[in-house]
Symmetry: D2
Subunit: 149 residues, 4 copies
């Protein structure tokens, strides 16, 4: 991995609570593994609201931010009615990407699920992938002291 | 109910098979009741493909067809791995509506779930609800001998 | 409808907020109609927590409470990021049923979706439907002044 | 990676068709990224039916097979109505794991999404993770010429 691809967790993070719904629990009485992608998205949206970097902010500047990669690792199950905490952390790098790591803990503070998502910026009209940082994103990074020199 | 509201099942119907997915089964080992709305939609889409009346056909004529009412009645459960048949029947009336009834049967031919959906036509741009039959829909009904004089 | 089937909204109700997720919005930019069944379930679960009548309370007494009927009526769309309020009201009757009406309003207080669900009590082991009020449910109604003489 | 962790795609694979549902498409008019986990599961279930290695087969021998890791990579979008093909390939290794790779292609044969899932075997009663191959799985591997000496 060369310098331009170096990634590191930033100090920008947000905690968000979710409550397991009956419809999310499978016949083994635990949350079906696919629902954790929704929990990640809930965490990412809470991050966006807190730090002004939502889907709608990107859209206002002409960009979509499609997910190109997701990794999920499951450590413990969650059951119906449990309240879990999704901690979403912004991962900083020089690339024209939006990366987050996630750590979901149960009420006892035990780690249930961890993961990471990677998004790219695509021009809303042309559907081209941005190779350089879009200006609004560069400004956002600067504001938060995340811009590499 | 006056004459203009009279509704009757037509002879236009289509059968479509669905297979219950693991993710659709809840902690009681049966399909979660909310998933039947997807099965209805699968039936309705199969109807649209068979009789040329899909979401995309409506859109091509400038109309969306939002669901305004759904009724679901559950008679028997479905379990993981079962293959069920959704029979979707077009309900004819004079109104500027799109109505379907649904009957889902299991492999033994027993009725599992029945229901009905009602859609209206809205202009894609103005979001106004059409009070009269849109021309493309009138033509479709005529083609299938469903137009009231 | 005879006396035993008479139904009336009780004064037992609860308000619960939901926030529309990105994954719940369809290609028309509005919440897909099927997701409202989840919102109803969220409202019903909030009711259960507030008034001690959850799925787990019923299970502890040997009963499941499957949904046998759902009606949904859509009045206005909800969009991504909107926060809506689900008001869930207990419907009282003499029957061995659990009935709720739902009214979902948007941030401006306009009604978005209304509906009703009906659940029956089934013995967890034998899967028989209870024809009379299960004792725990009778006690619950009595405690809340809902028992008919 | 030591010898015992060596993994390689086997020749055991199955193709399964899925049709994109209206409810799976998001406000960008493409399949929401989280739904691909369901498509992987559909592929895995088709594999299980073809090669007699389903969730129910494992359960009959006292084992659950929870997913412990999922990786998804998105290359192209899928749109409403498209029919895609999920190719599910069994990944062989010495470990007491069940691993599959997935490749989803669109109607033009272009790769849309790739990924991998890892499952472990847990005792249904004790919820302990099996460290050695369960006997039924060992027999299954032998039958298919996949057992390492």
């Amino acid at each position: 991995m060369n310098k331009s691809e170096k990634e590191e967790n930033s100090s920008l993070k947000i905690s968000h609570q979710i409550r397991v719904r009956f419809s999310e629990v499978d016949s083994l009485h635990i949350v079906w593994h696919g629902h954790y992608i929704k929990y990640f998205e809930e965490g990412r949206e809470a991050f966006g609201r807190a730090f002004e970097l939502t889907y709608l902010d990107a859209k206002a500047h002409g960009y979509a931010t499609p997910i190109v990669k997701t990794v999920l690792e499951h450590h413990l199950p969650l059951r119906y009615g449990e309240v879990a905490t999704v901690e979403t952390t912004y991962v900083n790098s020089r690339a024209a990407k939006l990366m987050f790591t996630y750590s979901i803990t149960n009420e006892k503070g035990k780690i249930v699920c961890t993961g990471k998502t990677t998004q790219v910026f695509t021009n809303f009209e042309a559907n081209d992938m941005a190779l350089n940082l879009p200006e609004f994103y560069r400004n956002w990074k600067e504001k938060h002291g995340l811009l590499h020199d």
